[in-house]
Amino acid sequence: MFNLLLRELRFRRNAIIGWGIGLCFLPIIYVGIYPEFADQMAGFEDLMDLAIYQAMGISMGGFEEYVASTVTNLVPVIVAIYAVINGTGTLAGEEDNGRLELIAALPIPRWQIVAVKAIALGIALFLILAIVAAGGALTMSAILDQVETTVSAWDLFLSILTAWPLVMAFGMISLFLGAFSASRRAAATIATAVVLISYIGSNLTGMITSLESIQGLFPFYYYDATASGLIDGQDPVNTAVLLAVSLFAFLLAIFFFQRRNLTVGAWPWQRGKLPADAKA
């Protein structure tokens, strides 16, 4: 199992480096330009009252709000896209392109194949976030003496890293959809819709009182991307909910992958029944 895990991580090595370094420019640029940008921030405050910005969770009330809006609000959405690409590609994608057949023919239980891919995906997501968090934290240390704020570079590092349960939940939902579905395209379409609906839905329902009761349906609700999340950290209960969603989706992935006819593009319910006239 360990060898399989190493192989999976090796496959993700370039993606981890590419996504990590590429995405770490987001906090580097946004945090890095703040000292020059701070004076103009006051002019944006009225603009931030617009519903469109509120729906996107954007606020520019101060440094903390600015960092939350530009970094902790966006990084999880972008990493969630990687989680969707990788989560659906790792089972459904390999099944689509035929490579899964070689692995499925080895003396490895199916649950181990799913578990290894889930662990590798989890590690990849963690490392991407860690690289981005490190980039953000280092940049913040460099500008900290030029801004007035109560948050430290470590706070920003933790705030980005604690998005892991959220992106992991999307990764496991994607893995489940890939294990359930006969095609990567179908799995990726549904998983992307889940991410986008969750992001927009979580912000919109927060703005409309009558919809607040359904806010909990959206995974983004359980990750505080606002300034308070940056200052006070994440609510452990919300983090536990995201981890529970991840675990549930992972178990569903194993359940359906165990039952599926692999390599033939069959959905779980396409197990087929023997026609009455075909019985021996």
């Binding site: 499925a104 003396p107 006819n261 396409q270 087929g272 023997l274």
Partner: protein
């Protein structure tokens, strides 16, 4: 009591309403090379995938080494080397890395460098990334992967597809050597000479059903020939109504005949109508089989 390595009982697979295979009863004896023949879509790959628990049967059961392919799938696959018919490899990996990884995921083989010997024998450069390989080289990778664990059972789906004739011969030698060393081989192919060369028995599957199984030597002894005779003067429609002779096709100038017996009578009839050309056509083992079994009415031969 016969020691069967592969044994299936009324094995059926349905994909929704579509039939994969139906009531396949197959026995492959220990130490034999069994050829599995049939046209595309007949159910060969489905059968192989059920044996490896990649596909689950709708009904019936499949056993390898006496163990249930589903419940004891890990123990079964531990002793099986598999070459899929449609091989898909990891493009960015070098073949060497792939073999090392593949070796590490298998048990039982105590020789971690055996793949190197196989690769050298097939003249495969294992230092290149697999996306750079031709189809033939990719096939070599699949062959090495199937043989590298010295398995007790080899399941090979069209093993010589995409290979040049010299390498085809090498692969056939490898099959024979593995068989001599005690391995059982389950082998699907469309190429008559290689089936004749290595297989002890063949089974033919059509429309998902095993039509018949027979020893290769018995089939080859059927001496089925196919002749196209071109005449100066066309014989009457019933001119070749001769025992052991079937008229397959007829046009303005020629007739195509399938001949199992009474070749002399055919030639005598032909000469009376002035034969101006004789062409022989290749008869595949499958066609010999079907002719032998009356186009698939297999019956008691199964």
């Amino acid at each position: 009591m016969t020691d069967y390595v592969i044994e299936t009982h009324n094995l059926s697979v349905y994909y929704g309403k579509h039939r994969g295979i139906l009531n396949v009863n197959l026995q492959v004896e220990k130490g034999e090379v069994f050829g599995f023949l049939g046209p595309n879509g007949a159910g060969k790959t489905t059968t192989e995938r059920v044996l490896l628990d990649i596909i689950r049967p709708t009904a019936g059961e499949a056993r390898i080494f006496g163990k249930d392919c589903r419940k004891d799938g890990i123990a079964v696959r531990d002793r099986v080397g598999y070459l899929p018919g449609e091989l898909s490899l990891y493009d960015n990996m070098r073949a060497r890395q792939f073999f090392q990884m593949y070796y590490s995921l298998q048990k039982g083989n105590s020789d971690p460098t055996y793949w190197k010997k196989l690769a050298e024998r097939l003249d495969l450069d294992t230092g290149r990334r697999m996306r750079e390989y031709s189809r033939g080289n990719k096939q070599k990778v699949g062959i090495v992967a199937a043989f590298m664990n010295k398995p007790d059972l080899l399941i090979l789906d069209e093993p010589t597809g995409g290979l040049d004739p010299l390498v085809q011969q090498t692969v056939m030698e490898m099959v024979r050597e593995a068989n001599k060393a005690g391995a059982t081989v389950f082998f699907s192919s469309h190429i008559l000479p290689e089936v004749q060369a290595v297989c002890d028995r063949v089974g033919i599957i059509r429309d998902g059903q095993l039509v018949a199984t027979e020893r290769v030597e018995d089939l080859v002894a059927q001496q089925l020939k196919r002749l196209r005779l071109t005449f100066a003067e066309m014989p009457s429609a019933d001119a070749f109504a001769i025992d052991g002779v079937t008229e397959i096709e007829r046009d303005d100038q020629s007739v195509l005949l399938e001949i199992r017996d009474n070749l002399n009578a055919v030639m005598a009839t032909g000469v009376n109508h002035t034969i101006i050309n004789i062409e022989t056509e290749t008869v595949t083992l499958e066609e010999i089989f079907l002719a032998y079994y009356g186009k698939g009415n297999g019956g008691n031969h199964v």
